[in-house]
Assembly symmetry: C2
Homo-oligomer: 135 residues x 2
Amino acid sequence: MDFATHLTSNNIKPSLQRIKIFEYLYENRDHPTVETIYSDLVGAIPTLSKTTVYNTLKIFIDNGITHTVTIEDNEVRYDAIMEEHAHFKCNDCGNVFDVEIDVSGLNFKEIKSFKVEKTNIYLKGKCNKCLNKIN
Amino acid sequence: MDFATHLTSNNIKPSLQRIKIFEYLYENRDHPTVETIYSDLVGAIPTLSKTTVYNTLKIFIDNGITHTVTIEDNEVRYDAIMEEHAHFKCNDCGNVFDVEIDVSGLNFKEIKSFKVEKTNIYLKGKCNKCLNKIN
DNA sequence: TATAAAATTGTAATGATTACAAATTTAGAT
DNA sequence: ATCTAAATTTGTAATCATTACAATTTTATA
């Protein structure tokens, strides 16, 4: 994956900040928050500003190469994987995992007259690691 | 539905504010925000404070008679219907509708070792009314 | 009725996000 | 290579939802 090219082909000029932020999102599949992205990247880009992270993510979203993952009321997470998938959040460790999903089995009643454009699914529970942890 | 009894049997002392807020939630199935609840009730309870709405909803949630509906990043909605169901948000009018759903058809891979405690589903698209609207 | 506990309220604090203007960088023309 | 305009980045201040907290009011009980 050539990140600069990916940005360019989605009408986003590939500045250093944009490349690094997208690369970070694409490599770190843990659905980071703005805070995490900023603090993990400010070492490599010392001039980085949190406003830039916000601006950049907004551009990514507007151009369809990133989406938000909304599970908790109080944290917005970001995800650069655009293929349809669900999320699993562990109530113990708080990590969010990707989950492959087959939506075709879903059976909705009463929305025949509605036009569904997007189906969002997230699960909550305990992850493998936390289940096996000794408390 | 006797709201006071419902509160009592869930270990919540049925004050006027609590009864009215729960009643509002139960009757208004449009998943209101704190702002909406407050402004719709302050007429009937002139002394009502927004803090009370927050406090009360927290109590409802802690005692399992209300849950939050998280669809957008920037708005938290509340719902007193605890039976499993999904939500549909219209991208046009912004209304959130309840949707009956059969989760049993869902087919997850790779989470065999995870313990799923709750499955959340929401759809986005256009509702009946907005589809038929002349723009 | 007096007293203690619980509930409600208002105000101030917090924290994430956005607005905005200044500074920096980039791209194109000369 | 240099100049200029446009785009991008940055820092600070403003906004807005939510929470903390202390004071007031209400409720329950002795």
